[in-house]
């Protein structure tokens, strides 16, 4: 049995240790917010935070997660209250079809946790591993800038 934390709650799985974290999150744990795009680390749709660090969950063996802390897109909001990033993606057109959105939010969350005053280049670096085929990225960059401004104004976490 492999034990770890997901979105603050203790969870466990009897999956084989070499099973992908992505599959364990989506199937037995039912956290389908994390998407599978390419399955080879190119698209970022399966991004989650592992001990606060953004990773592609398609590249992580679940056996490597023993005792570790995982945050998926479902764990970002505080109850019904959206984070500044989620609000900005809704209000500024950062989300269109939605398939890249969970990964984008996770990658942007990791950025804003370490830097609440990012340049556009910092943002493009932070989301370079998250492919979007709808927005042309500019609306996403704008959304993340708007969220960063909101975080700075409130002095709150991303």
């Amino acid at each position: 049995m492999i034990r770890f934390k997901v979105n603050g709650a203790a969870r466990e799985t009897d999956a084989p240790p070499l099973a992908r974290l992505l599959d364990v999150l989506r199937v037995p744990l039912g956290l389908t917010g994390t998407k599978e795009g390419c399955g080879e680390g190119e698209c970022g749709a399966c991004s989650v935070l592992l001990d606060g660090v953004p990773v592609n969950s398609c590249l992580v063996a679940v056996g490597q997660c023993e005792g570790r802390d995982i945050v998926t897109v479902e764990g970002l909001a505080h109850g019904e209250e959206l984070t500044p990033l989620q609000r900005a993606f809704v209000e500024d057109g950062g989300a269109q079809c939605g398939i890249c959105t969970p990964g984008m939010l996770v990658a942007a969350e990791a950025l804003l946790r370490r830097n609440t005053r990012p340049t556009d280049d910092d943002i493009r670096d932070a989301i370079a591993g998250n492919l979007c085929r709808c927005t042309g990225y500019q609306r996403i960059v704008d959304s993340i800038q708007a969220a960063a401004a909101a975080v700075r104004a409130k002095g709150s976490r991303a």
Binding site: A15, P16, P17, L18, A19, R20, D23, V27, P28, G39, E40, G41, E42, G44, S47, V53, P54, V55, N56, C58, L59, V60, A61, G63, Q64, E66, A107, A110, D125, A126, A128, G129, N130, L131
Partner: protein, 299 residues
């Protein structure tokens, strides 16, 4: 039937050593028991290969040795070797560490620039230097950078260790001197002298998530206008990452101002044999390789 692909996944055991010594013992036992064992760190190759393996070719790995719990492997330290300053990276050091550790960014900014060009953040946080070396891809980014810095790898096994210069580590396409019971414990690189021209240039289709068409890392040191040391590491132009020893021999001891470009181009023609593949063509790669070497040598 298992819910997890590919079939047979549940036959693979995972060991999670905490120390290098323990990891080496586990590898030694596996080799003695004739088990197939594989080290696992960031998973950027192992997990993908395993998951996407065609069913017809699928073979069970008996044992995965996950080294992400070995704290010794993620250390970065400094060492004096023969009066020269070196940085020493544990094999498990990630590209993200190269981008964020002040000892690296402040000492060898070229490594920071290289790491920024590897995949994207989610790959940089997982991919490790030892993984990049062990998988022996001709298109590796980390390997040419470490090679240009006179990288030496320390290979450790149960009851022994040896040090191999990186330019002698690769034998042929995807073949290395690493034995099944060895792991790459550390990589030591020489810190270039102040004022050295230390450069990284990766030519790919886009800035992020690209595999190189050609990449070149270079260190050129000069005294009084004369090149006293030239080191290169070039990717995607041969079966293995290439040190361009012929170019090095041609330019060391020469004045930067009197370098013979035609002779250098001819040396490159002799040394590398770039191929046509899905990313580029042989002739284009050769053209770019020559341009990059010339820029690396320029003041």
């Amino acid at each position: 039937m298992s819910a997890y692909a590919p079939a047979g996944l549940e036959r693979t055991e995972m060991a999670r050593p905490k120390t290098i010594v323990e990891a080496c013992r586990i590898l030694a036992q596996a080799v003695r028991a004739k088990k197939t064992a594989s080290l696992l760190a960031g998973g950027t190759d192992v997990i993908v290969d395993r998951h996407l393996m065609p069913v017809a070719k699928a073979h069970a790995i008996d044992l995965i040795v996950d080294v992400t719990g070995v704290e010794e492997l993620v250390r970065i330290s400094e060492r004096d070797v023969g009066g020269e300053r070196h940085l020493v990276f544990g094999g498990g050091v990630t590209y993200w560490q190269l981008r964020t550790d002040a000892r690296v960014t402040g000492t060898i900014p070229m490594l920071d620039a290289m790491a920024k060009d590897v995949g994207a953040v989610q790959i940089q946080t997982r991919g490790t230097l030892a993984g990049n070396i062990a998988t022996a891809s001709p298109a590796a980014d980390g390997v040419p950078a470490l090679m240009a810095l006179d990288g030496k790898v320390t290979l450790v096994k149960d009851g022994g260790a040896r040090t191999v210069p990186l330019d002698q580590f690769f034998l042929a396409y995807r073949k290395t001197v690493l034995a099944p019971d060895e792991l790459i414990a550390e990589i030591a690189v020489r810190v270039p002298k102040d004022g050295a021209r230390v450069r990284w240039r990766k030519v790919g289709t886009r800035l992020a998530q690209a595999i190189s068409k050609v990449a070149l890392a270079s260190v050129v040191e000069e005294e009084g206008g004369v090149i006293t040391r030239a080191r290169f590491g070039m990717a995607s132009v041969a079966a293995v990452p290439h040190p361009l020893a012929g170019v090095r021999a041609l330019v060391e001891g020469k004045s930067t101002k009197s370098l013979d470009r035609a002779a250098i181009d001819a040396a490159i023609d002799r040394e590398i044999k770039p191929i046509d593949d899905v990313r580029s063509t042989g002739p284009y790669r050769l053209h770019v390789a020559k341009a990059l070497v010339w820029r690396a040598l320029a003041p």
